[in-house]
């Protein structure tokens, strides 16, 4: 069981923090490992299809898009965990770290495919892209935000930072998700239903936090 989080903040730290050093972490349970296996399978499968010429005419672009899309999907799922609990849905908070790391792994794979396979490690072209192409700038911002969040996702770092600081740091995921959704819209020639859908999901999930904060800050009767 996940139990109630320690703080009832907007971005609560993971539950079941070990109280003492050296205590084995109970919250990387078999459920999380199963979630990793399940969550990574679309990426592995798409890569396999790409290797075996089953990804259509432009396999590289298809792989790049699929990886980016799953990163965005896991960001949205991760952002949905707290609202889901607050509106009386299931409490999935013990899986949130896994969900967040899945988002990071997909974002990392997306960037690696872009840098290595798409651009062929042409550093000059990549740097020019990041500086001159707003959609790549925005996408890179989203990725760079996820890096420190992934690095500080383990219990040691939570303990070292302290719950409050950790929480502040991890609120950056809001910006990463917004930048990810924007990146998707900006790279298309026209706005598609799919891109608008993810942008709307991120907007609703972020708006929930604003609404919740306003609600909590009102004096209680």
């Amino acid at each position: 069981m996940g139990g109630r989080p320690a703080a009832d903040g907007l971005q609560s730290p993971p539950p079941n923090l070990p109280r003492k050093r050296g205590v084995r972490l109970s919250w990387i349970g078999p459920g999380s490992w199963a979630l990793y296996a399940l969550g990574l399978s679309p990426g592995v499968w798409t890569f396999y299809l790409g290797l075996t010429d089953q990804l259509g005419a432009d396999p590289l672009k298809a792989l790049e898009r699929t990886l980016g899309l799953w990163a965005l999907r896991f960001l949205v799922i991760g952002l949905a965990v707290t609202p889901l609990r607050k509106i009386g849905g299931p409490n999935l908070i013990r899986y949130r770290r896994t969900i967040g790391l899945l988002a990071f792994f997909y974002a990392l794979a997306h960037v690696v495919v872009y840098v290595v396979l798409d651009q062929g490690l042409d550093v000059a072209a990549i740097l020019a892209d990041i500086v001159k192409r707003p959609y790549i700038t925005v996408g890179m911002v989203a990725f760079l935000i996820l890096v420190p969040l992934a690095v500080t996702s383990n219990a040691t770092m939570i303990r070292r930072l302290g719950a409050a600081a950790w929480q502040r740091l991890h609120r950056w995921v809001y910006l990463a998700a917004a930048a990810g959704a924007l990146h998707f819209i900006m790279l298309l020639k026209t706005v598609t239903f799919e891109a608008a859908f993810y942008a709307a999901m991120v907007a609703v999930l972020l708006a929930f936090r604003l609404w919740n904060r306003a609600r909590l800050s009102q004096p209680r009767r």
Partner: protein, 316 residues
């Protein structure tokens, strides 16, 4: 207009008149058969076409037919690359007519068969460079647009040619519902001298057969030195006009897509570089290297003269 590369036609390449006439019969028969066989949903059907070789063809290896017919931009059928192949099967392409209007001595509406009757079909294996940064090599079958232009006798005041694609929401899912990406009809245009250039063709086939619907059946433009979106598909209207006509992508995002849209590695799209391209099917899929994009898509010897004195950065 200076055409530097004159087609070298050897006597051996000139088709004897008997063959020539029988090919016309075959053609006419082919299209009649097409008219009979083209029932909605019958997307797998294609008629064989015969055509002359052309010295304008590249000897680069053509893209796999499966790739060229499954990876398309044809927003009338959806904005995804695989949407046209999935959704275009229901398009009725026979009967088909094209209205030719505007500043011409002989405005009229042509049945497709009438357009094709006097022309000789040619194989034109052309490079195709999409504005999105990928490219293919397509063996088109078609005829010079100039042949149709001379037939309708443009007036001296005609300076541009404007084209329109079919609008038929019940057969084109991209034209119904929310999220319609463009204003319909899809419009494109060329300067009259560009339209008359021998490289500019109207295509009716590819890979030895009639065009699949997703590739712009039954009649489309192919302008190989411009980004692919200039090569308008499924044409129903051609108008000769004095002023530069509005074009769909230019109207949609004028700072990103210009009227000329000549392939130019030195002028970037605002959102991506145009210096390199990925040739579809080249190398081994995931590990294909990008190749440098060539000025005018490699057709500079033939077409650079059209733009002498024109600032290609300002007129992108």
């Amino acid at each position: 207009m200076l055409i530097r590369k004159a087609p070298d036609v050897r006597p051996s390449e000139i088709t004897p008149k008997g063959h020539y006439l029988s090919r016309r019969e075959l053609m006419a028969g082919g299209f009649a058969a097409a008219a009979l066989a083209m029932v909605p949903g019958d997307s797998g059907w294609a008629a064989a076409l015969e055509a002359h070789k052309s010295s304008f063809s590249t000897d680069e290896p053509p893209t796999r037919r499966a790739d060229a017919t499954s990876y398309n931009n044809f927003y009338e059928f959806g904005s995804g690359k695989d949407d046209p192949a999935a959704n275009a099967g229901t398009l009725t392409t026979a009967p088909w007519s094209v209205e030719v209007s505007g500043l011409v001595a002989k405005p009229r509406t042509y049945a497709l068969e009438d357009i094709l009757k006097p022309v000789t079909l040619e194989d034109r294996i052309y490079r195709l460079r999409c504005v999105e940064g990928w490219s293919m090599v397509i063996p088109w079958i078609g005829f010079p647009l100039a042949a149709l232009i001379s037939r309708v006798e443009p007036l001296g005041s005609a300076k541009y040619v404007a084209f329109e694609t079919l609008v038929r929401p019940d057969e084109m899912p991209g034209q119904r519902g929310l999220f319609q990406p463009l204003d319909w009809p899809y419009r494109e245009g060329l300067r009259l001298d560009e339209a008359n250039h021998p490289l500019t063709i109207l295509a009716v086939g590819m890979y030895g057969e009639t065009l699949p619907n997703q590739n712009g059946a039954p009649l489309r433009l192919v302008v190989p030195w411009k980004y692919g979106f200039k090569s308008i598909k499924s044409i129903v209207r051609i108008a000769f006009v004095e002023q530069q006509p509005p074009t769909s992508w230019e109207e949609m995002a004028p700072h990103e897509y210009g009227f000329y849209s000549n392939v130019n590695p030195e002028v970037d799209h605002p959102r991506w570089s145009q210096a390199t391209e990925r040739r579809i099917g080249e190398g081994s899929g995931l590990f294909a290297k990008r190749r440098p994009t060539r000025m005018f898509n490699g057709y500079g010897d033939e077409v650079a003269g059209l733009y002498a004195g024109l600032d290609l950065r300002a007129n992108y």
